[in-house]
Structures are given as C-alpha cells and as structure tokens.
C-alpha cells in the first residue's frame, strides 16, 4: 500500500470505477504490445487517452472509451495534454529497431523521461508504469539494451513520481514482427540458431503481459520496484526447445531441420545489414548489438515477485500462444492445446 491511496479512492474503488471510470494515459498504443494492451484495457472498461504519431494512411482503431491524441514524444505540450486528469500513465512506446544509438535513445530513454516528467508536473501525479525490457539488465550489450536502461534511470530519477518498471523478456503473439522470422523459418521446416551459443531465455505471450498491466492497475502496488515477467516456464527455453514446440504447433509435428549458424557468420551478416541500413535509411532487424543480445547466455527471468505483489498469473504457454498467434482460426478447434 502506498500513501495517497485512501484519498484517491475514498469513494470506494468498485463503485467509483463503474460510474466514473479511471482515466489512463498510454503511449505506444499503435505498436505490437500497445495494441494488445489498449484493446484489453478498453474491454475491461477503462477510459484511455492514447498518444499516436499521425502518419499518412494511419487511422487508429475505434475502441470504446479510447480517445486518440495526435502528438509526439518530443512535444511537451502534447505530453502535458496526454497526462492531464489521469490516474495512471503507461509508457509503452519503444523503438526496437534502429541503426544508431540516437534512434533508440530518442524514444526509449528521452521519451520515457519526458513522459515521466509530464506526469510528475501535475498537482496530483498519476501512477506511472514503464514497460521496459529484460534487455535493460545488460545495458552494455547493445544500443537497444542501453536505451532501455537509460529510460528506466530517467523514470526512477523523476522526483515525486510513483513509478513501477516492468521488464518483460522476448514477447510474442499476434502482430509481433521481431520473433515472426524465427517462427516463419520453423513453419517452413528449418530452425536457425546461433551455433555454440547455449543461451537460455524466458518468453511471454503479449496477452499475458497485458493482463499483468491490468493487475498492476487494479492493485495500486509495486511502487519504486522493477519486476520481471515470464510465462511461468521454469528454467525457460533454449533454441531447441522452441524449435520442438513450434514444430509441433506450426508444422503439425512434421520435421524441423536444425540449422546452426556460426556466430562469426551472424556477426558478419549483422555488420553488412547495419551498413546497408545506414546507407539506405531503413531500421535494421539484425545488427551487431542484436547478435550480442541473441547470443547472450542468460535471458531467464522470474515473475514470482510480481505475481506475489499483484496476484497476476501467466496462463499462456508457448504451445497455446503459438497456436493463438499463427494457426488459422478453423484449426484451433481441433484440440490444439
């Protein structure tokens, strides 16, 4: 429990929410995780004010209780408008691809800090949730990991803010673009893996992550803490375990050939890709930093402290998560786990 809770909820949480639902501010709502989150928030009856970057052809989805606010993370006026009158702010915006450190920092570090400061400027600062990444545990590995770490630091350093940091591991689910290439490979019958990198890692399905955010909102707990989240698979996964499960779900058990890729070759490909991306101005998927992330030996995490604090439990294991994301709807009734 946290000081300030009594005066905030003096009318009684349940009754107050039914007649006068709490207002949330959300960034990153058009991204992979944000989209899953906002539909779940809207479904649960929250009022959401969501920041989005206007772009030609982008029409944000119409959802009950959702107000879309055009603006940018660099625009303080827009951020003030975003957070005004809210009970909680969720910073979900994140850059996962970039060719240069500055591209990651602009969103993941500076953006997080600016949203946090906007929240702290209010006479009654809302609760603040930063969706960070497990990568922040190893800031030296890559520009992405470093930017996530710097974003966390900026939030923690914001005076007067009641913050919580969530560090999910690799997130997959409908709409994901980062792990999609791996699952596509496996669906086609080959499973690439960095050779000689005996890494273990945790995973989480995006809807379990969204459920964790809803639990954090409901409980008013966890202030001043960092929490890791995973799908509850003890000991996590290695590449072979993912290939086995994904082969069963995405290929109906037809064989999946393991294709070891020597790490030096992966580094070489990443360097070439990074060079090309800088020349041609696209956001690269594979960079030397990404290779260091991919070959890091320990991306395991433990969500028990968060579960204890909030009562959240992950319910989607890898097999059911993959089926939900990638199998045709008509196949899902045939006894898929």
């Amino acid at each position: 429990m946290v000081p300030g809770r009594d005066e905030e909820t003096s009318a009684g949480t349940g009754a107050a929410r039914l007649t006068n639902p709490s207002l949330l501010a959300l960034t990153g709502a058009t991204g992979f995780i944000g989209a899953a989150l906002i539909s779940r928030l809207a479904g649960a009856g929250w009022q959401v004010r969501a920041l989005f970057r206007p772009r030609a052809g982008r029409v944000p989805p119409r959802l009950p209780g959702v107000e879309w606010l055009p603006g940018d993370l660099g625009d303080e006026g827009a951020l003030d408008a975003l957070v005004t009158g809210t009970d909680a702010v969720i910073h979900c915006a994140g850059a996962v691809r970039g060719a240069r450190r500055a591209e990651f920092d602009r969103v993941n570090a500076d953006g997080a800090g600016r949203v946090a400061q906007a929240a702290a400027r209010l006479p009654r600062p809302p609760r603040f949730l930063l969706i960070s990444s497990l990568a922040a545990r190893m800031p030296e590995l890559s520009d992405y990991a470093g930017s996530k770490w710097r974003g966390e630091c900026a939030v923690r350093a914001t005076a007067g803010l009641r913050w919580t940091v969530l560090r999910p591991p690799a997130v997959y689910g409908p709409g994901d673009r980062e792990l999609l290439p791996l699952f596509r490979c496996i669906a086609m019958g080959f499973a690439p893996r960095p050779a000689g990198a005996p890494g273990r890692f945790s995973l989480i399905e995006v809807d379990d992550l969204a459920a964790a955010v809803l639990c954090w909102l409901a409980g008013d707990v966890g202030h001043g803490e960092n929490f890791e989240l995973d799908d509850g698979c003890v000991g996590g996964y290695d590449w072979d375990a993912v290939a086995t499960v994904a082969g069963r779900v995405l290929r109906d058990g037809r064989p999946v050939r393991r294709v070891p890729i020597p790490v030096p070759l992966l580094r070489l490909a990443a360097l070439a890709n990074l060079g090309a991306s800088r020349v041609f101005g696209y956001a690269p998927m594979l960079t030397p930093g990404k290779v260091r992330e991919l070959t890091h030996s320990d991306w395991l995490c433990d969500s028990r402290p968060f579960a204890l604090a909030t009562g959240w439990r992950p319910v989607i294991d890898l097999a059911s998560g993959l089926a939900r994301a990638y199998r045709r709807p008509d196949e899902l009734t045939e006894g898929t786990p």
Partner: protein, 87 residues
Amino acid sequence: MTTNDILSYPHILAQLSAEMTSFTQGRVQIGEDTNLLGDLQLDSLQVMNLLLRVEDRFDLSIPVSILPDVRTVKDLALQIEILTRDG
C-alpha cells in the same frame, strides 16, 4: 499495387520469378518447381528477407499458417493468388 488488384496466376508467377532472380542475382534459374529452401542457395536470413520482399511487392502479409505447405515457387505463387483474391 493494392490488394484490390486481381492478379492472375501467370502474372504472379512472373513477378515472383523476377523478384527471386533479382534476389539471387541471377545465379539460379527460377521455375515453378524451384525449391525455396533447397535450390535458391539462400541462408535462413536471406529466405526471411525474400519473404519480406515478396510481401512488399504484392502488398500482403504472408501468414505463418500457409508456410508448412510452401516448398516451391509454384506453392508460393498459388498461395499469393489466394491471398490477393481474398484480400
């Protein structure tokens, strides 16, 4: 190109072959029976990039669920025909 364009199979096949010829820099003769994994001499990253190029060219998203049955250029062209037709 938009997904509203109805493309015939021969048209799709021709575009797909052109894309693959450019992607493999002409090293491989592309035909209907060319195997995407065995014959193109591409590594996994290149195969994934090829799929992205194909998605861009046809302005569609290739679902994971069709991939187990895609082995040859013909398989992929037939799936693209279905995807463009169904929008």
